[in-house]
Symmetry: C2
Subunit: 230 residues, 2 copies
């Protein structure tokens, strides 16, 4: 489709770069890849792709994340646009970063071979190409702000989880330790978790009860003007 409206304007390649995050072994993990093409082929890089003319930028991000994780319906939000002149060594590319929070148990490990991707601990993130480390840093800022006030952290866990696990999730988001009693008190009095009968005995002899997030109760609280806050 050629236009009669906007003429003599410069046009640009637009990429999406995705910060795909998971939670395992009490640490935040991030999915990165060896870059499969030049320039900087073989360097560590976020998962990315170019936007096609037939899709919105949100759809492009969904496509990239879907291809690399094999999961649908992923929590995915835009971080921001990165548009410095020489941010990409190849040529001028404006990139829109998105972050995804996934349940790593749904991730198909065979995909890591195909795409040469690797889960690395956030605390041990290597140097990435271009401005990708900045994108991760911006994402962590958003995550810290947003997880404090919206229950997005649950996207990183399975349907059911224990309170010790949930606490260690928040501890690794904020990079600080939290008092166990205060944490449980706050969450349980909020009344958005449901205690199950089963226990997870994988990390202690006694076992910890499973809980699950009750979205309906959460929505009711919000309607009443109350606020989630951690």
């Amino acid at each position: 489709m050629t236009s009669t409206f906007y003429q003599n304007k410069d046009s640009f390649l637009i990429a999406v770069d995705c910060i795909i995050m998971g939670f395992r072994e009490n640490e935040l993990q991030i999915l990165i890849a060896r870059r499969p093409f030049e320039p900087l082929k073989g360097s560590w890089s976020l998962m990315g792709g170019f936007v096609n003319a037939t899709e919105s930028i949100d759809e492009a991000a969904e496509r990239v994340v879907g291809e690399l994780t094999g999961i649908d319906n992923i929590f995915l939000e835009q971080v921001r646009a990165y548009g410095e002149l020489n941010r990409d060594l190849g040529e001028r590319v404006v990139s829109i970063a998105y972050y995804a929070l996934i349940d790593m148990d749904l991730f198909n490990p065979s995909l890591t071979v195909k795409n040469d991707t690797h889960w690395v601990r956030l605390t041990q993130l290597p140097k990435l190409i271009f401005d990708h480390n900045k994108m991760v840093k911006d994402t962590i800022n958003i995550l810290q702000r947003k997880a404090a006030v919206k229950p997005i952290g649950f996207n990183l866990l399975g349907e059911q989880f224990t309170l010790p696990t949930l606490q260690s999730l928040y501890e690794s988001i904020y990079q600080e330790t939290i008092d166990k009693r205060n944490f449980r008190k706050k969450l349980l009095t909020m009344d958005i978790l449901e205690k199950l009968d089963e226990k997870d005995k994988s990390s202690s002899k006694r076992g910890a009860f499973y809980y699950q997030f009750n979205k309906n109760k959460y929505d009711q609280l919000i309607e009443q003007g109350l606020h989630f806050s951690l």
Copy 2:
């Protein structure tokens, strides 16, 4: 410059749209314009422009805001990228929104004629083209979140201002009334304002003392791990 790296990729026009905000008569104001070209020529629109190949997207936003306000060194931050397929009726355009907070007293009124721009009260914002109303809404959300925790509100005022003015600024950002005594107590005990000797007598017979924001003291507080919060 033609590239040998990324071939057969689609390219896009990229625009910046700027939410330029000021504060006058105890209300937030926003600068909008009659669109000077088709499609939708004559409709209300945010101030925008296309990004050139020779500038970063931040620079493009600075250029647009500079041209329209005649002010340098404006507080300007990215809102986010908007990339729906048919968001622009002309053709496919990805837009990056930026918001600017300016001191309206520095604004050159003659520029409104030249650019057919108008200051309108935020509470009386008309229907704008495309997704521009959504951009404004997203901006207000960011402003409310950010003004609560960083002293960005001062960008909307001149060097000196009275406490009643400052309070009404925050009231119009949050769209709710604030108790006068509590507001003053919080700000003054924070010790980031300096009281001047002059009074502003324009809005009362008694007159209200001018204050000014002391950035050095503010920076010291932050270094000490304390936090601004309103």
